[in-house]
Symmetry: C2
């Protein structure tokens, strides 16, 4: 029923990646030992997020964004959205795009946003909470290209899409999908959302995203998630089960499909992550305060629309302000400016009581030191800035133009490191270890003590990638660099992947739904 038959009939991965054997059960002698991963877990921030500016300056940014909304306004390209906004007190006319927002109306909308909500997965163990002190990591979303070490860089396709979904399911560090981990460009756009969402819901049991590319797609994907979760129409509205990323068309525009996405999902109590793409120096002022003020104005406009449609519907405030490289005009990520913007975005989100989204991003063209340091700087900005959702958590390369299998594995290790950092440092008699210190005494060694022996196996983070062997041993092993180690792990992890179970009746209903919608021709592609 997909363009390329059922995934389980296709045991062949990319011709350029080693063959995988599907999710069969493993027996002794069946191959290498499973890659050790910490189990799927929920993470909580134990520290106060970093405040990027003083309270006075935060207020100045808040006021500036309200003044942008009131004095400049937002072009809202969707007539139905304009109608709802005007009925709610925004200033504008039905036949002109420009909508100006009264500050009090905006703040009334802000007040009804839930500070946290659950995003339900097909597997209840994989349901996550967005907001509060929760930190959730998603897979990369939406690159048009994909690469692996064996096959190089290529246009996104369904086979790589499916393998990245499998990897996202198998890597415990990845808690939710971000969307399509790579665009399956070989599936026709009219039915792509049907096949891709079928794959996401059957190859994985983690929470999923729908692209806002017209209301019908939002509706189809929600219906598929409803079926997959075995819920009634009424039930799905009590349990947020899908989210959509809303990128404002910066500066200061909400386009038609984005308005439709907000309205469709607010109406059904599903989540919108409203994320202006305010690249300082291009779509936003070259100064960060102005770029973030504009980000804030655009986010508040989208959030206001969601709350007008349904007060209390779940939304996330997305911060994505970065800067362009002023030499090439290319976007830069994981820069010092990106870090400050990420922290400032979080401070604004907390001012309003919104869940906050930031990202794990970089602009590197290879899985090299640059990819790694830009990613960790981005994580630093996100995590210390109080992000509840770290979007594009694993697999993003090349400023989002490419998904990388190896980067996804390395990123999963980075996320596991952050997750371990998010486990609070325990201080009690057992961890203060005064008896062990006295027992060992000056000049001794702790390894042999009972205190160490009782704990050493699980005391410390154990990485998938980092190589801590001494140089000679590492050299004898072929001097593997981190990207090479990740490349070696990709087929192993795909081999270890287990397809999560799905009830036969649900699978039949889901299959029937996709078949029917495909036979109807899917949806128009002239959005």
């Amino acid at each position: 029923m997909t363009n390329d038959s059922n995934p389980e009939d296709r045991n062949q991965t990319s011709p350029n990646t080693p063959r995988r054997r599907g999710g069969r059960s493993r027996t002794a002698g069946d191959g290498p030992a499973p890659v050790a991963q910490p189990p799927f877990a929920h993470h909580h921030r134990w520290f106060a997020p970093t405040r990027a500016v003083s309270d006075d300056h935060l207020e100045a940014i808040h006021i500036a964004s309200l003044s942008v909304l009131q004095d400049v306004g937002i072009d809202v390209l969707n007539p139905q959205a304009r109608k709802l906004l005007i009925e709610a007190g925004a200033m504008g006319t039905a036949d002109a795009d420009r909508i100006r927002f009264d500050p009090e109306m905006v703040m009334a909308c802000v007040a009804s946003v839930p500070s946290e909500f659950d995003l339900h997965a097909r597997n209840p163990a994989h349901t996550v909470t967005l907001g509060g002190d929760n930190v959730v990591f998603s897979a990369v979303a939406s690159p048009p290209n994909v690469s692996d070490a064996h096959g190089g860089r290529r246009t996104g396709n369904q086979r790589d899409f499916q393998n990245l979904v499998r990897l996202s399911q198998h890597l415990n560090a990845i808690q939710i999908h971000g969307g399509y981990p790579v665009e399956p460009a070989d599936v026709h756009p009219s039915v792509r959302h049907l096949h891709a969402t079928f794959d996401l819901l059957t190859l994985s049991d983690k929470a999923v995203n729908a692209y806002s590319l017209g209301a019908e797609r939002n509706q189809d994907c929600l219906e598929m998630v409803r079926i997959a979760r075995g819920l009634t129409d009424a039930e799905v509205e009590t349990e947020t089960s899908i989210f959509t990323i809303i990128n404002t068309s910066s500066p200061l525009r909400l386009d038609i499909p984005m308005c439709q996405g907000i309205m469709e999902y607010a109406k059904r109590n599903q989540a919108s992550v409203i994320t202006p793409f305010t690249l300082a120096g291009a779509m936003a002022p070259v100064t960060l305060a102005g770029a973030v003020a504009q980000q804030n104005a655009e986010a508040l406009a989208g959030i206001a629309l969601s709350q007008i449609v349904r007060p209390g519907s779940p939304v996330v405030y997305g911060g994505f302000t970065s800067n362009v490289d002023m030499k090439s005009g290319s976007p830069a990520f994981g820069t010092p400016e990106y870090m400050q913007s990420a922290m400032l975005g979080g401070q604004l989100a907390r001012r309003y009581g919104f869940p906050y989204r930031s990202s794990n991003v970089n602009a590197a063209n290879a899985v090299d030191a640059q990819a790694a340091y830009e990613s960790v700087f981005a994580l630093w900005g996100a995590v210390m800035g109080g992000a509840n959702l770290v979007f594009h958590g694993a697999g993003w390369l090349e400023g989002g133009l490419r998904a990388s299998f190896e980067k996804m594995v390395i990123d999963a290790d980075l996320l596991q490191m952050v997750a371990k950092f998010l486990q609070p440092l325990v201080v009690d008699d057992a961890t203060l270890a005064l008896d062990a210190i006295a027992e060992v005494g000056p000049g001794g060694h702790f390894f042999g003590t009972q205190h160490t022996q009782d704990r050493y196996r699980s005391a410390f983070f154990a990485p998938m990638i980092s190589d801590w062997r001494n140089f000679e041993t590492w050299e004898e092993a072929g001097s593997p660099t981190a990207d090479q180690k990740a490349a070696a792990l990709v087929p192993t992890l795909l081999d270890e992947y287990q397809k999560p179970p799905m009830d036969d009746a649900i699978l039949a209903e889901l299959t029937e739904f996709v078949a029917r919608r495909v036979s109807e021709g899917g949806v128009a592609t002239d959005f």
Copy 2:
């Protein structure tokens, strides 16, 4: 007068690195344009450091370390140090190593430590302040091995030492030397400190370190710095001009040369950075709270000694707790445990009002993604943990067993990124840019605005290494990875290096001092 004649007579670098042309003046057509670097600057933390534990837990760790000092005690191997400690109220006997510390005596010593002090460089523009909200970056110190992309890995030697000193001088991100950026193992240990300090003081004008390997070395190095700065004996005691790293011999020991270093430099008002090397699971408890409690006990013991010798003498509290890899026993760095320990160390230092030292470290064997991500995680722990001195800031690889030319260049870029992050986000009418936002309006573009044109050249951090070109352009340029770009920059940077001027009389005095001390045979090597 050095083993290998005057550096300026030796225009040949390592046989494995490209030839450098020394510090001659540059004219048009003389080679590639200088590598763009931000100028040497002083950095201040604008945010509150992250608190690793609650105040109650911090107090529990403090009390635990006082109890270790009182009940277990420290083996102080130097009789003179024991004598001073016992006279000041510590419990022990002259003929046994073990010294136990009364908590009140320790806290009285804590009270006299200056919360910040200036570390003077030969060039006053390179003098730095340690403590308060200052953040200072040093070069790597003390690896026994060195590598570059062309010559591979080799034992440390004077030629590479000198080139790393030149690079440390030329890279503005590096504010002070850490010690020897690689051990010049081909210079005899009896005179190594003389030749190496001569090189540090003549090839560079940034602040320097002396190794505490016996009191005579401390004295020789201080004398050389006094000469280089043109000060009298009395004057050098009013201006801290050199520092030494004191590593306690964990667990719970202060060895003879470390005691001598503390005493020699406290006596002369020079700085000791007291840094226990408490590797959790090996030289310290496997639990971080206990490892840091032991770190704190050891640091307090060393600091107490410094303040007994001279109340108010400058010291820095060093945190270096990390964990071992429980599979191989190798030390691991830049781990989640390292980050938490770095933050906890800072919180303890602030509790006492001490300047705080942390480090930029990793355990990678190559200049790959691992080297980069472990380094940035370490920087994250250090900078957010409130480090005033980020030691080993540039060039460290392989858990400190190797200095890397390429890693030094990449690290300099990382430090420049952190330095830019440490510039506060400016919020005022000009940066909020409401006029520019109104001028551009919905759907416009900011690049052409006057607001952007006035600022774009210097608006954003401009990296030495990060490659933000699109994939096609980058591929046409030969697909250079970050380590390859750094390798290409090394000879350029060495070529751009300018030897800082030194007064002829001072150079003559320094040269004469070294010649005399060398002719005397230097110092004994049986420390």
